[in-house]
């Protein structure tokens, strides 16, 4: 097993799938200013995806670049967390998905800036600034929606209830994660859970939302076990390069 390739794919695929989904908001946001904000976050995610996937391609030594990895892999070859695959839904669903992810991305990127690999550390430094901003954005919206009206409170609480079971993938501490930590170029995400929990508690306290009763977590994304949605999402995203395999764009 090529742990480095696997690990970088996880980073890249999370960002790619979130970026792909956030791009769907462009032109459809609840207010013009927020339309621009969501697209900005989506652009950051696509940018991170490109950096991680390019690096993954090099780690693989099979000559695949960012586009080969993004457009010519089948769903079971993807390594994104199931959380990232959850549908955009309404604005509250997207914000809750983003918050749960950002609260993980911030400590992740912070830890990766200390990577023994200069390139990983450099990408992490850039990403850390972005994810800190994303968290600020998603967190303040969680508070606004949680505290806002009865309707918004109920809606975003429901988003949270539905999405929380899917965070498990983010903290999987398997062989790949252990190798990354042992060899010093990565971090075992299992160690990030405490930071994530306290970020969540902090947000809950301020927004008046509550933690739903604990339910079993859905785990599988890192092993290529996905939700039904992913193959639709990829079919749409990959349609042109798959239809015209010889074409350059």
């Amino acid at each position: 097993m090529n742990a480095r390739f696997e690990y970088l794919l996880r980073l890249g695929d999370d960002a790619l799938i979130l970026g792909q989904q956030l791009g769907l908001w462009t032109g459809h946001g609840p207010v013009l200013e927020e339309d621009i904000a969501l697209t900005n976050i989506g652009l950051d995610q696509i940018g991170q995806a490109r950096a991680w996937l390019t690096m993954a391609g090099r780690a693989e030594h099979a000559g695949r670049d960012e586009d080969a990895l993004a457009f010519h892999r089948n769903p079971e070859e993807f390594r994104c967390a199931q959380l990232c695959q959850q549908a955009n839904g309404h604005f509250g669903d997207t914000i809750a998905r983003q918050f749960l992810f950002d609260a993980y991305a911030v400590p992740l990127h912070a830890a990766l800036t200390k990577s023994s690999d200069d390139e990983i550390a450099a990408i992490a430094r850039k990403s850390a600034k972005e994810s800190a901003y994303h968290l600020r954005h998603s967190r303040v919206w969680m508070v606004r929606l949680g505290d806002g009206t009865e309707e918004s409170h109920a809606k975003v609480q429901e988003s949270l209830d539905r999405l929380l079971p899917y965070v498990g993938d983010l903290f999987v501490g398997d062989d790949v994660a252990e190798a990354a930590a042992r060899e010093g170029w990565g971090v075992n995400p299992a160690t990030l859970r405490d930071a994530w929990e306290s970020e969540l508690d902090d947000m809950l306290a301020e927004s008046g939302l509550h933690r739903p009763e604990a339910v079993p977590e859905q785990i599988g994304g890192r092993r290529g076990i996905h939700t039904e949605k992913l193959s639709y999402l990829l079919a749409e995203m990959q349609v042109l390069p798959r239809t015209y395999p010889d074409a350059q764009w």
Binding site: L16, G19, Q20, G23, L24, T26, G27, H28, G29, P30, V31, L32, E33, E34, D35, I36, T39, N40, G42, L43, I46, G47, A49, R50, L53, E66, D67, A70, F71, H90, F91, G92, V143, R144, L145, D147, G148, T149, E151, S152, K155, E236, M237, V239, L240, P241, Y244, D246, A247, Q248, W249
Partner: protein, 318 residues
């Protein structure tokens, strides 16, 4: 008194001076501006949809990022323009309500569908090209906030046309299928692009007054001709054929002659019967309606927070 003001105003504007929001202005000038700036803003916002349609299917990650940034710019441009319009004493939400009710117009070009990836190229190259030609003179428009918004818009737009042309160039030099895709897009977007400059000069009722007020600097036909003259050689460079058998270089005038524009199509689309009019408006309305609870929540939270802060302040003071 009113007469004096009007004469003074006309002379002032004729001297290329700028009008600022709180200055006196004839009612008709204000209304013309509100109509034009809000139409312009609406066009940017509705204009996000045809291109937004391909964000999820952009054929490479680089193209996806470029397209997202471009469509996002259009949201920004809409916002600068609404903001300029609001200096005239109207509220953005009311302008948007007029768009959604069908009362306000927007550029009819956005009522055409984007059927293939090549349409992203054709729109950037032709539609943005035509838009820039219309917009650059507006940077010198007599109304300060509009002129300043347009300076910002034009500065940011310069990459839009280039990215479109680059898509066309890549396709035109690509596989046979890609080249056919590019030609097909050009066939579909050429005539609607020429219509973007508006009706011919002898049938453009508001033009004379707008020219006198320095809101409009060149006539529709002048700009259209300039666009054709610039675009023909670009099409040749791409190795694509413009879908106009009457297109010929006129040695005498130093311009390209081109065929008759089908103004009945223009009228049809403008009056709501283009291929996508209903869909575009419905999409905008849905986005707005589905976002109502979000806007209300943010407002309610801001008010609650302010009230909590006031209460805390009073407690502290007591």
């Amino acid at each position: 008194m009113e007469m004096d003001l009007l004469q003074h105003f006309d002379a002032y504007v004729a001297a290329e001076k700028k009008i600022e929001p709180k200055d006196w202005m004839p009612d008709a000038y204000r209304k013309t501006l509100v109509r034009q700036i809000s139409q312009h803003a609406h066009s940017e916002i509705v204009g996000m949809l045809p291109e937004g349609n391909w964000i999820s299917r952009a054929p490479s990650l680089k193209r996806k990022a470029i397209l997202m940034a471009k469509v996002q710019d259009e949201a920004g441009h809409g916002l600068y323009l609404y903001s300029a319009c609001e200096t005239l004493g109207v509220e953005r939400d009311d302008l948007i309500a007029d768009l959604h009710s069908g009362k306000a117009k927007y550029s009819s070009i956005f009522n055409y569908p984007t059927l293939t990836w090549a349409d992203m190229g054709a729109i950037g190259w032709l539609v943005d090209g035509a838009a820039i030609m219309n917009q650059v003179p507006l940077c010198k428009c007599s109304y300060g906030p509009y002129a300043r918004a347009m300076v910002r818009v034009c500065k940011e737009e310069s990459f839009h046309q280039r990215q479109g042309f680059q898509i066309m160039l890549t396709l035109a030099n690509g596989t046979e299928e890609q080249k056919a895709m590019a030609q097909d897009a050009l066939n579909r977007w050429w005539w609607p692009s020429l219509m973007m400059f508006g009706p011919p000069d002898d049938n453009s009722p508001n033009s004379a007054q707008s020219m006198a007020w320095n809101i409009k600097r060149f006539s529709n036909d002048e700009l259209r001709q300039k666009f054709v003259d610039l675009t023909v050689p670009q099409a040749e460079l791409l190795g694509l054929t413009l879908p106009d058998p009457d297109l010929t270089w006129n040695e005498e005038t130093g311009h390209y002659d081109f065929g008759e524009i089908d103004w009945s199509e223009f009228q049809r689309v403008i009056s709501g019967h283009g291929p996508c009019n209903k869909e575009r408006l419905e999409t905008r309305r849905n986005a707005w309606d589905n976002g109502a609870w979000v806007r209300e929540a943010a407002q309610a939270h801001a008010e609650k927070r302010a009230a909590r802060r006031d209460a805390a302040g009073e407690t502290a003071a007591a």
